[in-house]
Amino acid sequence: MKRTPHHLLLVEDRKQDARQVIRALNKLGWGYIPVDVVEDGVSALDYLFQRNMHSTAERPDLILLDWMLPLKNGIEVLREMRMSPLLTKIPVIIFTTSSSESDVEEAHAAGANAYLRKPIDPKEFEDVIQALGTFWIDHAFLPRP
């Protein structure tokens, strides 16, 4: 039986973008899944390693990770995650404005599960969230966090 993911982590420094993602998720019918937002790379790692302010945080089923972040950027967070046996299997989707080929290469080399670009057009933005939710929430079998 497929396990329903019950917790998403959104690592996103721009509140507007985070709001847009959450709005789209709600609008598309995934509002029942709690989404936690952290705004920089260090907080993201604290959250995942359950340290400092985030000592009581729950490990997420799926992570949406921005690329450009304060303190530690997406690739650094991803690398540290993939080095830890606790976090290595959590699926990470890079969700960023950059479409540069080198970033795509780097992300996959570091162990990203997918790389999605945030579209400019609001309609397309929703389309991407739709595709993402359909695949990763509705259909994909995710490992236990």
Binding site: D17, Q20, E101, K118, P122
Partner: protein, 506 residues
Amino acid sequence: MTQELELHDWVMVTLLLLVCILFWLRNKEYHKKSLEYKNQKELLDKWFNSSSDLHCTLSAGGMFTFLSKGWAKTTGYSLEELKSKPYIDFVHPQDRKKTIAEASALQDTNHYTTRFVNRHIRKDKTELYLEWTAASDGIQIYATAKDISEYHKKDIDLKHWLLVGLELVATTKLTDPEKWSFVSKGLQQLLGRTEAELTSRPWREWIEFEEEFEEEFDNFTIITKAKTKTKTINGSKIHLLWNITQDRHSGSMYMSATNMTEFIKQQEHLKSIIHELEQANMALSGFANVAAHQLRSPPRSILGAAQIIEEDFEIPEGMHEYIRDIKQDAILLSDIVDGLHKVSDIRKLKGLKALPVDLNTILRPIRITYCREVPDCHIKINPDLPVVLGDQTLLTEAFSNLIDNGLKFNKSIVKMVKVYVIPDPQNFAPTIIVEDNGVGIDPTYHKKLFLLFERLTTEFPGTGVGLYLTKMIIERLGGTIRLESEVDRGTKFFISLPTHKKESSV
């Protein structure tokens, strides 16, 4: 009695005859020997007189006893004149002392003179340099001399030249390889010191070695190249590159230098310029990075917010127009940022690998993309486009821009873009033509057309990045682009790109 006498006579006659025969035989032998001797003398004479060397014998009293004919030609005196006076009278007054010393050394029959050089005065008063080899048997001196005046003349010229010219040369003597024995005028001037000063202290005190590379040259000499740094008397720094030829046996050296100061100064200047450029470039790519990531988000948020307002709220009368403006400009802003991002991406590309790209496979998808959006689509692509060397993504970008422009800057009822090829006879660089029936461009502005952010009209939307990007891509791939266009007559872009064929034949 008579018989006895007869016998006696016979004996006498026979003896006499025997003596005669012996005498004749001896005479014959002597004659033969004297002939041989005569032949040898002739041979020697011939040899002495035809040789370019000067041969002679001298008596213990210092008079010529034999002279080969060359002496007359070389000295200008006749052989009789030469034999009439002691040899020493013909020697240059300044060299007489050492000549007498060498001659007295020859009294020891074990002494051989080699490479002894002295000067003489010719009949025309000019100097004659002779180099001697000689030996003595205690009675006579047997000597051969060589005229080396020409050599000496050249030597003098060279030395003279180094004394007046600006060449940087110094030599050391075998007796003291640590100190210079001669310093050319040029080197004296450069170091700002007199020859006396420079020869008084070890030369390594005047020049500080930075690097030395030894190159073994042959059995006799070692050649070393060396870089040196020197402070002159007025404190300025001089960089010299030396060629040092050292005699293996004696250790004496011939040193010549090239002044590299200007060169090194320029090199340092260039280095600092390169450093500055690198800094500027880093700042630029930092900016491009910001453009790529940070500047992209705000227009997206603006668009998103506008969308949310439209969807979730009731819009008062007259506000829709403004929301449309906000959206339009957010899109334009994001297009500009996108263009900048592409420019910086292409700039950043290093060691781009040019691979064979079939232009047909690039242009067909472009056509499909455009024709999906435009109902009455007239993009004609000739099916015989060549395979060129390049990069698929970049070439797609370049050709998309040209086709996009052809359709965008176009007021014809049937908007048309044609892509075809003019084959090159050698097929090295065929010219690909992208032709449209658009509004055309005034030739006055053709040069401006390819500049970044340059827009020639406000009638059509645009960012002024497309053609700049296209030109940059074509040139990065080793190709060229030019155009022919006039107002209302459409535009033709001529693109030539290196082909696969050329590469494989090179």
